[in-house]
Amino acid sequence: MTQGRRARRVVMFVLAFALVALVWEGYKAIGPEEGGTLFGVRLLPRTGDRAMPHVWSMWNRLWDPEIRGGTESIFVVVMRATWYSLRVAIVAFVLGSSLGIGLAVVMARFRWAERAIMPYLVVSQTVPIIVLGPLILSLMAFASRDLAAETWLAAVFLGVFLAFFPVAVGTLRGLQATPPAALELMDSLASPWWKTLVKLRFPAAVSYIAPALRLAGAASVVGVVVAEISLGIRFGVGRLILSYGQEATSDPPKLYTAVFGAAVLGLLMAALVVAIDRVLMRHRPREAS
């Protein structure tokens, strides 16, 4: 991307959030205190400082100590939690993606596997599998006492579970989308199946795998955060959301600092996936957006 375009993107990014802050404060200024109705529906939120803290009080809270009399600012606490969750999410992402790609290869190789498993993969994209989270976790606890102690593994597990499906679906679609003419060429060169896979199918599938990886990145973050919230894992962003959320009535801006952390987590993961995407597609013509 040219320098000019990159600068413009950054400016737009900042501008977008500035606008949101403006709308937030604007609504606070003119909106009804107890919330209101629009078209007969209770659509408008309460505007008191409890429900909608001022943008600057959110900002200030970030730099205040986490607990009264404590030494660490919330910023540090939140960043540490974000870093923790990020590492767990990355592990989940890598593991989930690898498993997904592996399954897709198996399904591409064995037609019966593909026919049997594919409908479940498709269904997994439409059915809210995230609800199985608590179940997965209790399964893990049942399977091994040691695993239960390592609660971060539970978060990894859930992240893997959520990330695995989109990668499997996307990779399989990509592997099957190889142009028949190219396949015939490889056949005529007497290339064995595995070589064809590596030299032709995978490179051809990259443009399908890349968007699937984006979904997997977001999914692994969701899985990790939800696991942290469900299990009350001490170190991650999920835990912060939970506990700060409980303190929201007495200290409203605190919750937003945790939200800030979660946003940073999500965006960092997205940036990582985009970087991977760039590497994978570095020799491809850019799709016109």
Partner: protein
């Protein structure tokens, strides 16, 4: 003259059946293995219930499951419709101003990256605890961004021949919008709906995890799966899956009916 090849109904039916057999077999094998594992290892029902127990629970509590599914389903539906309408409308209106989509893109990326549970926590704070509004808003937000981005993209992609034709007809920009660009954008709209419908269900579910009224599927599932009546929890999960599948099927059907010409093209 090449016209569309008409397949006979019987070969179509046969193909459907043969496509359905392997996954059914796999599913049955899986359920049987599950059942056996529970029986053989004497797994207690509060850890993992057996499939037959789940079925029993589903039958016994069908009205509970139905009620909870309804609440969640309505939330998802309302959010889906609102988000779709807003997304489509805004994309059309702001199509002339490139800067709007440049501003919305960063927000779309962020909303996609931040787990919905987090945003819901914020919304719960902003709204009274007894209303479903927060959840519907959450669903609308997620759906809005998906639809907006896709429709904006569809409106930007114009078949150059068709645009030249309209120019040769001295058509006004409004006529061009109505007759060419909107119909061209419809497949993109339905792609977005197909993605957004299951997401609407997922978010409606997840947004019930933390506080608020406890009568939807999400809260029931998290409540029961964390407790001891896991069979009931699974029954709720089955209910949630059915809702998700219904939404997906509904959006696929809608696409099939409204945009039939897309069946012929495999465009991304």
């Amino acid at each position: 003259m090449s016209l569309a090849v008409q397949r006979t109904d019987s070969t179509r039916a046969r193909q459907l059946v043969s496509a359905a057999v392997p996954p059914l077999v796999l599913g049955l094998v899986f359920l049987a293995a599950w059942q056996l594992w529970v029986e053989v290892y004497d797994v207690k029902p509060f850890i993992i219930p057996k499939p037959t127990a789940i079925w029993q629970s589903l039958v016994d509590n069908s009205d509970l499951v139905w009620k909870a599914s309804w609440v969640t389903g309505v939330n998802a539906f309302v959010g889906l419709v609102c988000g779709a309408v807003l997304g489509f409308g805004l994309a059309v209106v702001t199509n002339r101003f490139r800067i709007v989509s440049e501003l919305i893109d960063p927000l779309a990326v962020t909303v996609a990256a931040v787990p919905a549970v987090v945003i819901v926590g914020v919304l719960n704070n902003m709204y009274a605890l007894d209303s479903q509004i927060g959840r519907r808003i959450m669903v609308s937000i997620a759906v809005f961004f998906i639809v907006f981005v896709q429709v904006a993209k569809g409106l930007r992609q114009n078949d150059p021949t068709q645009m030249e034709l309209m120019r040769s007809y001295a058509a006004t920009p409004r006529q061009t919008l109505r007759k060419v660009r909107l119909p061209n954008a419809l497949p993109f709209f339905f792609t977005a709906i197909g993605t957004a419908a299951p997401i609407a269900v997922i978010i409606a579910l997840v947004s019930e995890y933390f506080g608020g009224t406890q009568d939807g599927l999400g809260s029931k599932i998290s409540g029961t799966l964390n407790g001891s009546n896991k069979a009931l929890g699974f029954a709720y999960v089955v209910g949630g899956s059915i809702v998700g599948l219904l939404f997906f099927a509904g959006s696929a059907l809608l696409e099939y009916v409204v945009v039939p010409w897309r069946r012929r093209r495999r465009s991304r």
